[in-house]
């Protein structure tokens, strides 16, 4: 065993030649940064300076591309450009997400702030302290009521506290901006190990800034008195009380309840489960000190919808994902992880992979973000880019005719236009489905599905008859469009439109009117429809007044109902039209590769490493990875030329959860020696002992070397955690740990 000489290791980095020594040091400095400054920023700015306008009117200017392309367009500069573009796009997405989350929480935050102010004035009303009292280094307690600690319990409605870390940070920032003194504590500050001192120290760190060794609450009290902090409350935010150590938290609360007159502390605690949580982890005498107040945050699904709406559906960065990726991300969210944080992470990985794989992705930066300028930087790589663009499968598939700049620009603007219309329709559908448990994420997956769209367009879809019957469910041509098939969300949303009472329908149509402001044809139709409803409303209300005096149920009322049904029907058919004609998924447009990330496999690999399964597959099917000539032919039978550990693990599959070492060794030995007699096999990548053995090939490998190889292979299995070493009780057996893939 090595001697841990950390002190020796940290100060002087050993020279790189002494590599063996490096292996045995806990850590070492491999190299310091070279003096060369990273060139990324400089090249980026140089290239972005040249901007070429891509709007069709000005495209004539770029007909003859610069000569420098060939010279400068090295991969390096190109990569940097894409990196720049990624940063721009991702920062846009990220800030959008932040804004969305902040908006969602804004109401609760304001509520909390109001409560903090109220509680503070209550504490103040207990009376001001005299100078003598205030400067004493111990707490003052007048009566029981003054020992109350105002506590806000924030129900997160979310088991995954990860998603709320940011929320509490934001809350802290919000309160700070309103003049409160805020400290954010996490459950790590309330560990049994560090005790009450740990959280006090952390508090002092955050309030006093200057590091202090002593953890004493009187320091905090004197800080509060001296710094002119007297008119503002002290807010302590604990993000997740369920993960805190109960006894430490209890001590903390008891202590502050005694000091509350001197330091008007107001607690805010995050609760992920139910309101019982504080009762479960705190003692009853502690609970008596609390004066709780409840707040509730939005549910995760609300937040998720808002994020998706802002980032993927509304115009945000231009970056979009394909149907498959969307489905994968949804499944990952719903079935596997369930945190919004992880969803955002997945999006980020997708985005970064998009920029690293798709050369044309740099267009995203200028093309979608700066709407007014439509500036596409980079006259340098233009030609290479065009060539690449015309090679894209989606371009070829749609047979766009001649390959020149104009058609390229045309395609791009077309892509953008269809995207805008798609967004609008999806938003309309979402509006219709709101309040009916239709989640935007699911809707998005369906709206992105190119299979549904192509069957929609190629199918024999007749225009929906506008004034069609009153009973929609049976004679409506639902079956003709796969996307309208029952059970599909889009269909459900349309059905919702049909069932809406007239007042709500009016509201919905108003919303649609706002949404479709960019698409003239739909907008006009909507106006028409709204007009009809208005008319009818007026008429019905007039009739209502007239009717109410006479008979309770009249023929005219039935008529009204019928007519309003007809309006519903019109609205429904309108949205169906929109879905059919305008909701073209991004994957159906030419050049969509530029904006759309499609590679679901790489995303999956990067997002979910599955070492448990992967490492076993590596071992069981090592020939697939090593691709040696000897094993790939043989299929499943074990050849001695296989990697030792791989042989051993394959053999282990035949055993139960305990493997007899002796048997295992014997079968290993027989495998390794088996082809010696046949005498033909190539040496492939193999550990050292084997090579040595290959040199004296005629006779069998000696016992010792086989034993050594066996030991090594077992150790390697042990490192990977696939077996456990023998116990004292059964010294001849190793234990298998992992079963099945």
């Amino acid at each position: 065993m090595m001697a841990p000489s950390a002190a020796a290791a940290d100060s002087s980095p050993p020279s790189s030649s002494e590599t063996t020594e490096n292996h045995l040091q806990p850590f070492f400095v491999l190299h310091e940064a070279s003096s060369r400054k990273p060139e990324r920023t400089s090249t980026g700015t140089v290239k972005t300076r040249k901007k070429i306008d891509f709007s069709p009117s000005k495209l004539k200017n770029v007909e003859k591309p610069d000569v420098e392309i060939a010279k400068e367009g090295g991969d390096e500069g190109y990569g940097n450009l894409r990196m720049d573009a990624f940063e721009v796009v991702w920062s846009k997405i990220e800030s959008t997400i932040k804004d969305v989350l902040r908006d969602i929480n804004a109401n609760v935050f304001n509520e909390i702030h109001q409560w903090v102010r109220d509680s503070f004035s209550t504490i103040r009303s207990f009376g001001m302290l005299t100078f003598r009292e205030a400067t004493q280094a111990f707490p003052i307690v007048t009566d029981a009521s003054s020992k109350q600690l105002f506590t806000g319990l924030v129900l997160t409605k979310n088991m995954e506290f990860v998603d709320d870390l940011l929320t509490f940070e934001e809350l802290g920032r919000h309160l700070k901006s309103q003049g409160c003194h805020v400290a954010n504590l996490s459950s790590l500050d309330f560990m049994a190990k560090s005790g009450i001192g740990g959280c006090l120290r952390s508090l002092l760190r955050q309030f006093l800034v200057a590091p202090l060794d002593a953890a004493d609450i009187s320091i905090l009290a004197s800080w509060y008195r001296e710094q002119g902090n007297y008119n503002n409350p002290v807010v302590v935010i604990v993000d997740d009380i369920e993960r805190c150590c109960g006894s430490v938290l209890s001590d903390f609360i008891l202590m502050f309840s005694e000091w509350v007159l001197k330091i008007p502390v107001i607690l805010i605690m995050g609760v992920t489960t139910t309101l019982d949580a504080p009762r479960n982890i705190l003692l009853s005498n502690v609970l008596q000190c609390l004066c709780p107040c409840m707040f509730t945050l939005g549910t995760p699904s609300e937040r998720m919808d808002a994020i998706i709406e802002a980032v993927l559906v509304r115009q945000c960065s231009g970056f979009s994902i394909s149907h498959k990726v969307a489905v994968f991300m949804r499944n990952y969210f719903v079935r596997q992880d369930g945190t919004i944080t992880s969803f955002i992470r997945a999006l980020k990985i997708a985005c970064s992979q998009h920029f690293s794989m798709e050369p044309l992705s740099i267009i995203l930066k200028g093309f979608f973000l700066e709407e007014d300028r439509q500036g596409l930087q980079d006259g340098l790589l233009l030609q290479a880019m065009f060539k690449h663009a015309f090679d894209l499968p989606s371009y070829g598939r749609n047979k766009m005719g001649e390959e020149n700049v104009e058609s390229f620009a045309h395609c791009l603007s077309e892509l953008k236009r269809s995207q805008t219309r798609w967004r609008t329709v999806v938003l309309c559908l979402y509006e219709a489905g709101k309040g009916h448990r239709i989640q935007l994420l699911d809707l998005l997956c369906e709206a992105l599905n190119p299979a549904l769209y192509s069957s929609r367009t190629s199918g024999t879809c007749t225009k929906v008859d506008k004034g069609h019957g009153v009973s929609p469910s049976n004679n409506f041509p639902v079956q003709q469009h796969p996307i309208m098939r029952k059970g599909r969300l889009i269909c459900q949303a349309v059905q919702k439109v049909r069932d809406l009472p007239i007042a709500q329908l009016y509201k919905l149509l108003k919303r649609w009117e706002e949404l479709t402001v960019d698409i003239n044809e739909i907008h006009a139709k909507l106006k028409e429809l709204l007009y009809v409803i208005k008319l009818e409303n007026g008429r019905s209300s007039r009739q209502d007044m007239a009717d109410s005096s006479k008979r309770p149920v009249s023929r005219s009322q039935l008529n009204i109902e019928k007519e309003s049904r007809a309006v519903n029907e019109k609205a429904a058919s309108l949205i169906e039209c929109m879905v059919r004609d305008h909701m073209q998924p991004v994957e159906c447009s030419p050049l969509h590769e530029i904006v759309c990330f499609k590679n679901v496999e790489t995303l999956q690999l990067a997002l979910i490493g599955d070492p448990r399964r992967r490492i076993q597959i590596d071992l069981l099917e090592s020939y697939k990875i090593l691709r040696c000539s000897c094993c790939s032919r043989s299929g499943h039978s074990l050849l001695p030329s296989l990697h030792d550990t791989s042989i051993l693990y394959n053999l282990a599959q035949e055993h139960g959860d305990h493997i007899n070492l002796h048997d295992w060794y014997q079968s290993f030995k027989s495998k390794v020696c088996s082809s010696r007699s046949k005498g033909k096999h190539k040496s492939k990548q193999s550990p050292l002992p084997k090579k040595r053995k290959d040199m004296n090939e005629p006779d069998k490998p000696c016992e010792a070397s086989i034993q050594a190889r066996f030991c090594k292979a077992v150790t390697e299995l042990q490192i990977t955690g696939l077996i456990r070493m023998p116990t004292k009780r059964r010294p001849d057996f190793v234990q298998r740990v992992a079963f099945g893939l």
């Binding site: 065993m1 841990p4 950390a6 002190a7 490096n22 045995l24 806990p26 850590f27 070492f28 400095v29 491999l30 190299h31 310091e32 940064a33 070279s34 003096s35 060369r36 990273p38 990324r40 991702w90 506290f161 990860v162 790590l188 952390s202 590091p211 945190t339 944080t341 992880s342 992470r345 690293s356 690999l605 990067a606 979910i608 490493g609 070492p611 448990r612 992967r614 490492i615 076993q616 590596d618 071992l619 090592s622 090593l626 070492l661 550990p687 050292l688 034993q707 030991c711 090594k712 150790t715 390697e716 042990q718 490192i719 955690g721 070493m725 023998p726 004292k728 010294p731 740990v737 992992a738």
Partner: protein, 287 residues
């Protein structure tokens, strides 16, 4: 990916040590690289953090063209600062530019020296710092169980790479006991002494009787239980057979003593240690 703010995590069968170091010394020349060998038994994480802070400090100093004034002086040398201060420094509150970062390469972030949860928490905080990028490898199939969701999603922010190298685990396996060289011989006088020190003085004395007997009768198979009882009783160490048996059970549980059948059919006890080791042990517990 590193620039994008992800941490890289390599997994798959085979040693990834060479791979990571090659990567670090070819692709990451612009940045300082600190390597942690997680496969070692004990690693002082605070020392690591101190080193990181020093490296970052040097990097900033050397890159800054106008060294005077702009950089706030470090009030204290790094090695006397608290962990929180160090993290605050690495997180960049004192340095404005985002372009500096130190890469941390960790071989076997799931290794024995880093496996406990406190260390992992610290590693998570290191990875979370804005001036740190982390590249790590794992070998154990259950390594992801070390991290909770907070660490995975917000701190480490892993980007997984499957890189089965099939290279032999030369250094990593160095500290594992070999399977065929069995553990029983590792039962040394040292461990026996530790066990004995935790027992009562009477039990220790019983053990001493047995040891002295074994030393004086090296050729015999062991001490018969009757003899042991008689001797122990004479010295007022045990009052009954039951007490003796309880001592013996204790010994057997800790493998200080084993039994075997004597040629005349009687059970007898012996200590499974060589006589030199036994002498050493006796002198140790006599102190």
């Amino acid at each position: 990916m590193l620039r994008c703010g992800f941490g890289l995590l390599m997994y798959g069968f085979g040693s990834k040590k060479a791979l990571l170091e090659d990567f670090a010394s070819t692709a990451l020349t612009e940045y300082s690289v600190v390597v942690i060998n997680g496969y070692l038994q004990s690693i002082n994480i605070k020392q690591v953090v101190i080193t990181l802070a020093e490296v970052l400090w040097n990097q900033c100093k050397s890159k800054r063209k106008t060294p005077s004034g702009n950089l706030p002086r470090a009030q204290q040398p790094f090695n006397s600062r608290s962990m929180d201060d160090l993290f605050a420094f690495l997180d960049g509150s004192e340095l404005k530019e985002n372009d500096y970062f130190v890469c941390v390469v960790i071989h076997n972030i799931d290794g024995p020296g880093l496996r406990d949860s406190e260390t992992q928490q610290h590693l998570g905080r290191i990875a979370f710092c804005s001036h740190i990028r982390m590249i790590a490898s794992i070998d154990h199939v259950n390594a992801p169980l070390l991290w909770d969701k907070k660490m995975v999603h917000t701190q480490f922010n892993w980007h997984w790479y499957h890189v089965p190298t099939f290279a032999p685990y030369k250094v990593e396996g160095m500290f594992f006991p070999l399977i065929l060289a069995h553990g029983s011989s590792a039962q040394t006088a040292k461990t026996a002494a530790i066990v004995l020190q935790s027992l009562t003085p009477n039990a220790q004395s019983v053990f001493k009787i047995l040891a002295e007997y074994q030393l004086s009768h090296p050729d015999e198979e062991g001490m018969p239980i009757d003899t042991l009882y008689a001797t122990s009783r004479e010295r007022f160490l045990v009052s009954s057979q039951v007490t003796l048996n309880s001592h013996l059970t204790e010994f057997k549980d800790h493998e200080l003593v084993k039994t075997r059948r004597h040629s005349d059919g009687q059970d007898c006890f012996y200590i499974p240690l060589a006589s030199e080791a036994l002498e050493k042990l006796l002198s140790e517990i006599n102190q």
